[in-house]
């Protein structure tokens, strides 16, 4: 019998969205388009148009040892070219942001290759070879995993995810990397670590409340779907909790 991954429990719309993001066979809806140059500007690792700095010579020029694993695993484009390892970090608001740190890591592990994610309570960083990073970042920004107001691309000073939103609906950012313009479009005026950009980078309009509520992967009893409303999810977590607690005392499931 072929194994069919389930990705996660739950009957609520939040659980459904989590499964959708994690399942690599499901194409994520493209919501906006951002050019490659704009992504390079937001990331702030190199000047747009410049060559990729390298950490080691391309694999083709190297004398690789005879290793069955190396034959089995095909290197990613960045690894093949010897790019340096760079990162992108996201902070997700708790008020119905479309993704959240743990979810991001699960999703990236299912969808991307050659990555090293780091997960914290309010932010999630993913490291990989530079040209792979730009490709993955484009996916993460252009699809339904991103909302210009409630998701911040923040390399440093990330707090704000658990704070109240500002009057205009933007997540608090001490460094104000992105601003909501008069035209309703969010523009990045600083790169992810807070250095001012030469030109503003538009990342589109914030999504409306209805869309956010339908696409979020965060339970929130006040503004979204309450966790306790998803009985299957609660039952699953309780089971894991009780098995972990009883571990070592010969747990037996009925």
């Amino acid at each position: 019998m072929a194994y069919k991954p389930q990705y996660g429990p739950g009957t609520s719309v939040v659980a459904e969205n989590r499964r959708k993001q994690m399942n690599p066979n499901q194409k994520l809806e493209k919501v906006r388009s951002v050019t490659d140059e704009d992504i390079v500007l937001i990331l702030g690792h190199r000047a747009p148009g410049s060559a990729y700095p390298t950490a080691h010579p391309p694999l083709a020029e190297q004398q690789e040892p005879n290793c069955p694993m190396r034959k089995l695993v095909k290197p990613t484009d960045g690894a093949k070219a010897g790019d340096r390892v760079r990162y992108i970090q996201f902070a997700d608001s708790m008020f119905n942001a479309p993704s959240q740190p743990y979810q991001r890591t699960y999703t990236e592990m299912y969808r991307f290759r050659g990555i090293d994610p780091g997960t914290l309570s309010g932010r999630q960083i993913v490291e990989c070879r530079e040209r792979d990073l730009e490709k993955y970042s484009k996916d993460l920004i252009e699809t339904e995993m991103f909302d210009p107001a409630l998701v911040g691309i923040r390399g440093a000073t990330v707090h704000g995810h658990s704070l109240r939103l500002a009057e205009d609906g933007m997540m608090f950012d001490m460094l104000q990397r992105n601003v909501l313009g008069e035209d309703g479009i969010v523009k990045y005026v600083k790169n992810q670590i807070g250095e001012p950009l030469d030109r503003a980078v538009a990342v589109g309009k914030p999504m409306d409340e209805k869309w956010l509520k339908a696409h979020t992967t965060i339970f929130h009893s006040l503004v979204g779907t309450a966790y306790r409303d998803d009985a299957e999810y609660v039952e699953y977590v309780q089971r894991i909790h009780s098995l972990r607690t009883k571990y070592g005392f010969m747990p037996k499931e009925e």
């Binding site: 704070l163 939103l165 460094l175």
Partner: protein, 156 residues
């Protein structure tokens, strides 16, 4: 220093205020008789990037600007999240409540009663103000900050 006989309230809007809205709210409160002390509270907006790779570089932020309350100018250093007030008596609280009910129409707010200011001077207060400190200053500003409180003079 706070006195137990003076009630305190805290205005907590559900959204953090922009400088213009904060200016309107504070001016409205400044026109109310019976408020002894007022404090604004919220996450800080530093002038330079405090940490990370861009540490030390300037941090232009559109919400860090000076607002005018009554006859005084206040340089905002925070995004206004809550306003803490110490009032003369309970009747002032009801007045504040009715003013705020009219003010917050776009989004809701909470008016909480309790103790929100320091009740006795700390060691840092002692180091800053000495043994003969003006008790009305204690608890109003961050003792480590060089700025002193602003005194509003309103025609009442």
């Amino acid at each position: 220093m706070t006195n137990a006989e003076f009630p305190q309230v805290r205005i907590v809007p559900i959204r953090m205020l922009k400088p213009a809205t904060a200016e309107r709210l504070l001016n409205m409160l400044a026109g109310t008789a019976g408020i002894r002390r007022m404090m604004i509270h919220g996450p800080g907006l530093p002038k330079t990037v405090p940490y990370g790779p861009a540490r030390g570089s300037p941090n232009p932020h559109s919400d860090r600007k000076a607002i005018r309350i009554a006859d005084a100018e206040i340089a905002l250093r925070v995004q206004v999240g809550t306003v803490i007030l110490e009032v003369e008596d309970a009747s002032v609280i009801e007045e504040i409540r009715s003013l705020c009910d009219d003010f917050f129409v776009e989004f809701p707010y909470l008016l909480q009663e309790g103790k929100f200011m320091k009740t006795s001077p700390t060691l840092v207060d002692y180091a800053k103000y000495g043994p003969d400190a003006d008790t009305s200053l204690v608890g109003l500003t961050d003792p480590r900050n060089r700025e002193s409180p602003v005194i509003l003079r309103t025609e009442q």
